[in-house]
C-alpha cells in the first residue's frame, strides 16, 4: 500500500516547501529540515512543525521541510496544507 503524501509551499524567499508522508503508527514525527538559518531558527521551526501536528492530532508522520526564511504563520499554513493534501487530516479537523 502506498503511503499518503502531500506537498505545499514553494522555494521562493519567505516561503517553505513541506512534504509530508504518512508513517506507521508508533513511529512518531520525524523531521528532516534544510534551512539557511538552521543554527538560529532550526529549533523554532522544529517546534512549530511539531505543534501543528499535535494540534491536528497527527502522531506519526515524516516531514521534509526546505525553508527559505518563512515566518511561523507560513510554516503553520504550509504544513496544514500538506497534511490536508496528503489526506492525513480532514477539512473538518482543520476548521474545528
Amino acid at each position: 500500500m502506498n503511503a499518503k503524501v502531500g506537498q505545499a509551499g514553494t522555494l521562493e524567499s519567505n516561503d517553505i516547501m513541506i512534504t509530508v508522508s504518512e508513517a506507521p503508527v508508533g513511529t512518531g514525527i520525524a523531521i528532516r529540515l534544510t534551512s539557511s538559518v538552521l543554527p538560529q531558527y532550526g529549533p523554532m521551526i522544529h517546534a512549530t512543525l511539531e505543534t501543528v501536528c499535535k494540534n491536528l492530532g497527527v502522531n506519526d508522520a515524516e516531514i521534509v521541510a526546505v525553508d527559505k526564511g518563512a515566518l511561523e504563520y507560513t510554516i503553520e499554513a504550509r504544513l496544514s496544507t500538506a497534511l490536508l493534501r496528503a489526506g492525513i487530516v480532514t477539512e473538518e479537523v482543520m476548521l474545528s
Binding site: E12, A77, L84, M94, L95
Partner: protein
C-alpha cells in the same frame, strides 16, 4: 477612509506579511485572480493564518474570496472566523446571490466576533446595471467597487487609459454608492510604470465622485493618496466657508458668499467634509498636485 485598497497575492508569503508597511488605507489579500486553481487551498490557509498573526497596522484587512461556484463557500468558512474587516465579493450580479453569501458569512462568524463588512465588486455589465439595488441590498455593505478589466472584456471593447469605454460604468457605480451612503472605489490603473497616467486617471476618478481607488502596486499608494487628500488650498477655502457661515449666523445675514460665490447647504457640507478629512489625515503639509 478608503482612498487606496491595495491587492496582494494571497499565496505569496512575502507579499502577504508585508501588507502593513505600504500605508494603504486597506489591503486586499487576494484568493481569486492572483491564485492559480491548484493553489487555492494553500492560499486560503496562508491568508487565514496571516489574519490572526500579521500586524497590518492601520490598514483595513480585506480578503477577496472566490465566487461561490469556485470555492467561495470554503473561503468564507475558513476566512471569516479569522476576523477580516471586510470581504470583497467578486463578480456580483444579483441581490439574491449577494444575500446568500452574506448569510454564509453570518453563519461562519464566531460568537461575539466583530461583524465582517461587505464590498461587492461589480465587474460585469449585469452587475453594473444592478448597481443601485446591490449597493442598498444589506446594511453590511460599506463600499461598492468597480472592476473594469472583466467588465470591458464582457462588453466586447478594449480597455484604454483614457477610460471612455468605462465612463458610464464609473458614473453608475459612483452614483449608486452615493445614493446608498457608502464608499465607491474605482478600478485599478494597471500600467504601474505610467505615473502621469495614474495621476490623470485618479483625478478623473475623484472628479466623478469616487472616494478611493483599487491599487495593484504599492508604488501607486502615495500618488493616489495625494490626489484624494484635500490640498492646502481646498482646506483654506473650506475654513473660509465655515467662518463665513458662522459670521453670517452671528450677524443674521440671509445670503452668504465666499470668493464672490453664494454659499448654500451642499457647499457647507463639502467644506465640512474637507475639514474632517484634513483633520483625519493631518494633511496641512500635503503637496498640491
Amino acid at each position: 477612509m478608503r482612498r487606496t485598497l491595495l491587492f496582494l497575492p494571497g499565496n505569496n508569503p512575502g507579499n502577504v506579511q508585508s501588507g502593513g508597511v505600504f500605508e494603504a488605507d486597506g489591503i486586499i489579500l487576494d484568493l481569486e485572480d492572483a491564485v492559480s486553481p491548484l493553489e487555492k487551498d494553500a492560499a486560503r490557509l496562508l491568508v487565514a493564518r496571516a489574519l490572526t498573526t500579521v500586524d497590518y497596522r492601520k490598514s483595513e484587512k480585506i480578503v477577496r474570496i472566490n465566487p461561490l461556484a469556485a470555492g467561495g463557500a470554503k473561503d468564507i468558512k475558513t476566512i471569516v472566523p479569522c476576523e477580516p474587516d471586510a470581504l470583497l465579493l467578486p463578480k456580483v450580479e444579483s441581490v439574491e446571490e449577494l444575500l446568500h453569501q452574506i448569510e454564509l458569512i453570518e453563519q461562519s462568524e464566531r460568537d461575539g466576533q466583530k461583524p465582517v463588512m461587505i464590498m461587492p465588486l461589480l465587474e460585469t455589465p449585469l452587475g453594473i446595471a444592478k448597481a443601485n439595488e446591490i449597493a442598498m441590498a444589506h446594511k453590511r455593505i460599506v463600499a461598492l467597487c468597480l472592476g473594469a478589466e472583466d467588465y470591458t472584456a464582457a462588453l466586447g471593447t478594449a480597455r484604454t487609459k483614457e477610460g471612455t469605454e468605462i465612463f458610464l460604468a464609473r458614473s453608475l457605480v459612483a452614483n449608486a454608492a452615493a445614493a446608498a451612503n457608502i464608499d465607491s472605489i474605482d478600478t485599478p490603473f494597471t500600467d504601474v510604470q505610467d505615473e502621469d497616467g495614474l495621476i490623470k486617471d485618479t483625478i478623473l476618478t475623484k472628479s466623478l465622485g469616487f472616494k478611493g481607488k483599487l491599487s495593484i502596486n504599492p508604488r501607486q499608494i502615495d500618488t493616489i493618496h495625494q490626489v484624494f487628500s484635500p490640498t492646502q488650498k481646498e482646506v483654506e477655502w473650506a475654513k473660509r466657508v465655515l467662518y463665513a457661515i458662522d459670521e453670517g449666523k452671528r450677524k443674521g445675514s440671509g445670503v452668504i458668499a465666499v470668493d464672490g460665490k453664494m454659499i448654500d447647504a451642499p457647499v457647507v457640507m463639502r467644506a465640512k467634509r474637507t475639514i474632517e478629512l484634513a483633520e483625519l489625515l493631518n494633511v496641512s503639509e500635503e503637496v498640491e498636485i
